[in-house]
Structures are given as structure tokens and as C-alpha cells.
Symmetry: C2
């Protein structure tokens, strides 16, 4: 699992900082999460091939999370893309993109498939054989979802010594990997755990931005490997955080602690602060495993 | 008159090139012309104060000319702007911006005033005591206008020696500057040209992008001081230029020659070429006074 931060600052793009966008690579699939203005240039700078992006998740319709989407959609068109592009985002996103395409008299040759979200409950928005993506209902000033990306549990691993000892035919291997017990020709039943090891542990990533401090998200993100939780403000702006429905560094850390996640990545920093190190300092008083997102930074898990 | 090129490349923003946007300073007024994605960052990089921009002119609704507008409008809001912002552009621009503001539940505190254009004739879109701006109807794949910025002819200059010789009272000075003759107390009529010099010559700037080669624009841009004319392609892509309703370098130069402009600035280069110097080389075979636009470049006239 690899996470590349294209942008992780709140509000407006600036000379050296970008609004929210990140690329999650998981099981060889690439997911673009949010798409602030300038995302397509950040993709180029970070050498991420445009053709690998087939799924874009938009958390909410504040500009710093989606103003770059229409440009990306258009650029895909100019690059003669033919593969379908799936966009998952709040109701309204389709109207915004289509209106601009219609007025510019440009229509993509590729399939532009919108999956508009309006449920206030968590729902599965993407699923294939390796990965499942669910929404995490967040509380913000407009309808907002976080996204939980989970690898699916894979096959159990064959214990080759064991299967060979029992002289089990290869045609049963997949059945065994699927967890089934085996009946030998002589009638003996060999339990699956004698023939296999546990599958490789699966990874999970939760993206939660933007949100006020909200313990009701904990069940959705419980024990994830990596939680990206917004921390727009420092302690000194705690009241402002509540008023604007954002979180402070300590609040992000408290959620991480209560959800017992393995790793917290913080981001969506207000641009009012000179250094982002203070976010880490304040959060570490509550939760130990803190990483700071920054534009262009990649994390391997 | 000062022109700063924020972006002058066609199609998609890239790591080191930006789509169309430029700032014209004329008689101490600042006009933003087109607003491709990333314009607000280019404004920051070029140290142009956001608060000085009160008028934005959008030529047409292709993404590389307006995708940065909604972000700029939002940033003005976040910066607590209170001054009115006037946006001049094709019909539809208001719906595009307002839809996004409505769905993001953010409404500016400042006046956002749209002047939607749909006339196929040239019309005055802005006028104050010093400057007048008219549309230049262009032929492109969608409804498109260029813009002609003209300084207004100022007052005539007083010849102080002459007015003092005739012992003319100061209260008549403005009348004289306005071009009136003066009747002295003894009945003599002093013709204005004996009391004044010609006013400072006025400057004019024509922005023509995007457009196919089209001689019908010549009457509007005749003898302007500076013409910015798109030159998307080189000679080798002449057929493609016609098909996509763009111009080649030589076509831009031919328009400059036939309109007898003083200076041609070329831009809106296709990103397929490794160097923009070839545009100049080809255009100079037709017209001598060529400057190449480039991102971050400023021109004084």
C-alpha cells in the first residue's frame, strides 16, 4: 500500500502548497482521493501516469477538494483516453462537470461514470476481487464522506510440506486455499488448518477530511492500519475549529487513539501556521504514531 | 501600459507551463484576461496583489481559458474581499460559477457581477474616464471574443508660457485643456492650438485568442500598439490549425501586417513543440516586430 500526497493544505492553493489530493496505490490499483485545483500538475510532478487513474473519490464539494476535477477530466480527453473513468462524489458533482463540458462543447470519448452519493449511512462504493471501498459519513459544513479502503482477505497459504505429505492431488489446492477441509481416499478428514497458514494480513486505509471532531466515526475506522485525519488547526484555534467544523491536531490524535489505529497521518493544515511541526508536537501528547503529510511525500505501508 | 503573461500555452497545464491568463495594467487599472487553471498561483508567483483585480475578461468557455476562475472567486472570498468583482464572459459563465458556489454552500460577501456576452458584433463592455474595453468577435469552435483595451484621449496639455503671456485666469485652464478657444477681455479670440500642445498619445492593446485566421477582425485591431494574437501551431500543422480553428505563427503575423499594428506578441502555443523560438522565426518572415509571450514575462509599452 502506497500513499502519495499531492496536496494537503486547507483553503487556497499557494506558490508552494496545494489543496487536498492524494493517490492511494493498493493491490496494484490506483485511487485518486479528492482533486483540488492544480492536481493534474501535481500528478505530473509526482510522475503518476494519468492512464492508471480509473477511480476518483471526492469527499465533498468545497473548492479545495474538487476544483481540479474538471481540468483533469478535460486533460484525459485531450490525451485521447478511452478507458472509463469512475467518479464517486456528492450529488451535484455530475451537474458541475457536465455543465462545463457542455458549454465548452467538448465531450469525452471515454466513459465518464458518476456515482453520486447522498446517503448518510456508510455504504460500499467500490468493490472488486481485491479491494473494497466504503464511505465514512463525516460531519462538516456540507455533505461529506471519508473513504475506507480495505484489501480483501486473500486465500489461505498452502503448507506445501503438509499437502505433499498427505499426497493430495493438485486439483484440490484451490479448495484448500479457500479454507476447505479435505477427505483423503482412505476416508480420513484433514482439517484445513493442518494444510495451510493464515493468509497475508490485509491492510486498510481511512481518509477522513474534512470533519469536525466526531467520535461517531470510530466504529468505521477501528484498528485501521493508517488513518489520514484532518487537523486544520492547532490548539490555539480550538474554538474556530468547532465553529468551522474542522479538527485540531489533538482532536485528530484523540480519534486515532480511541479508534486504536496503527498509524495516524495528519494533514489539511491551515495555511496560517509557519511550520507544520507543531501539529506533530501537539498530537504526540495524545497518540504516539504520528506522521505529517506534506505535498509530494509518499508513505509505504 | 504593462502586460504580464501568467500563462500562454494551449490545452493542459503542465509542470512548467500554464494555460492562458494575463494581466494588463493600463492607466493604473488592472485587468485580468482569461483565467486557466492555476491562475491564482501564477498571480502569487508574479506578486500581483489580488485586491487590485476588479475586472476579469473571459474570452471563451474552453477549459484552458476559464477553469481557474471559480478558484479565484473562492479565494477572494476566503481573503475577505469586499470590493465588487466584475466578470465579462460568454453566456453560461454565471451558471458555471454560481452552481459551484451554491453546491459548496459558500457565497461571497463581495458583489460578484456577471456581464454575460452573446453578441456577435463588437460592443463596449467596460468604460470609465480613462479606459474603454470593446469585444472583438472571433471565430473559434465555441462563441469567443477577443478584447480591445484602449486608453481614452486625455486633456490637451497647457502651454504655460502662452497662457501666462495672454494673462488668462486659472479658472479657464480646464476649459482650455478640454480644447476650447478663449475670448480675452479685449474681445480677441485666442484659438486653442495657440494655448495647448496635443495630449499624450493613447495606447491600445488587442487580445485575440483563440481564433482561426480571420481577416474580418482587422478593422477592430487596425493600428493598435500591441496585438496579442494566438499562434497555436507552426506551418507544418497548417491544416490542423484550420480544422481546430486555431492560427499558425505565419497567420498571426499576416494579421499583424494587414492590420498595421506596431507590435505583435504571439502565444497560445501548442505544447507539442520543444522550443517556441520557431514561432518567431516563422512569423518574422512576414512581420518584423514580434515578441514571444512566455509564462512570467512582462512587457512595458
Amino acid at each position: 500500500m502506497n500513499l502519495t500526497i499531492l496536496g494537503c493544505y486547507a483553503a487556497t492553493p499557494r506558490t508552494f502548497t496545494n489543496p487536498t489530493s492524494q493517490v492511494l496505490e493498493i493491490k496494484n490499483r490506483l485511487f485518486l482521493i479528492d482533486c483540488g485545483e492544480g492536481t493534474q500538475v501535481q500528478l505530473r510532478k509526482n510522475k503518476i501516469r494519468f492512464s492508471r487513474i480509473n477511480h476518483v473519490f471526492i469527499s465533498h464539494l468545497h473548492g479545495d477538494h474538487f476544483f481540479g476535477l474538471v481540468g483533469l477530466v478535460s486533460t484525459f480527453m485531450l490525451l485521447n483516453r478511452i478507458t472509463d473513468l469512475h467518479i464517486y462524489g456528492p450529488k451535484g458533482i455530475k451537474e458541475i462537470i457536465n455543465l462545463q463540458l457542455r458549454l465548452s462543447n467538448s465531450w469525452p470519448n471515454y466513459g465518464l461514470l458518476f456515482h453520486e452519493l447522498e446517503s448518510k449511512e456508510s455504504e460500499i462504493v467500490f468493490e472488486d476481487d481485491k479491494v473494497i471501498v466504503k464511505t465514512i459519513p463525516l460531519k462538516h459544513r456540507v455533505y461529506t464522506n471519508g473513504f475506507l479502503f480495505q484489501e480483501k482477505v486473500g486465500d489461505r497459504k498452502l503448507d506445501m510440506n503438509a499437502v505433499q505429505n498427505y499426497e493430495i492431488d493438485k486439483c484440490y489446492y484451490q479448495k484448500i486455499k479457500n479454507g476447505k477441509d479435505i477427505i483423503l481416499d482412505d476416508g480420513r478428514v484433514i482439517e484445513n488448518h493442518k494444510l495451510t497458514f493464515d493468509p497475508i494480513p490485509v491492510k486498510s486505509y481511512a481518509f477522513c477530511s474534512d470533519t469536525v471532531y466526531d467520535e461517531s466515526i470510530i466504529p468505521y475506522i477501528k484498528e485501521v492500519d493508517v488513518l489520514y485525519h484532518e487537523s486544520t488547526f492547532l490548539d490555539s484555534e480550538e474554538v474556530l475549529a468547532g465553529k468551522t467544523m474542522h479538527s485540531t491536531a489533538k482532536e485528530a490524535a484523540t480519534i486515532a487513539l480511541k479508534a486504536n489505529v496503527k498509524q495516524l497521518i495528519m494533514g489539511h493544515y491551515s495555511t496560517r501556521y509557519d511550520s507544520i511541526e507543531l501539529f506533530k508536537e501537539q498530537a504526540e501528547t495524545i497518540f504516539p504514531n504520528i506522521l505529517l503529510a506534506d505535498d509530494g511525500k509518499s508513505f509505504e505501508f
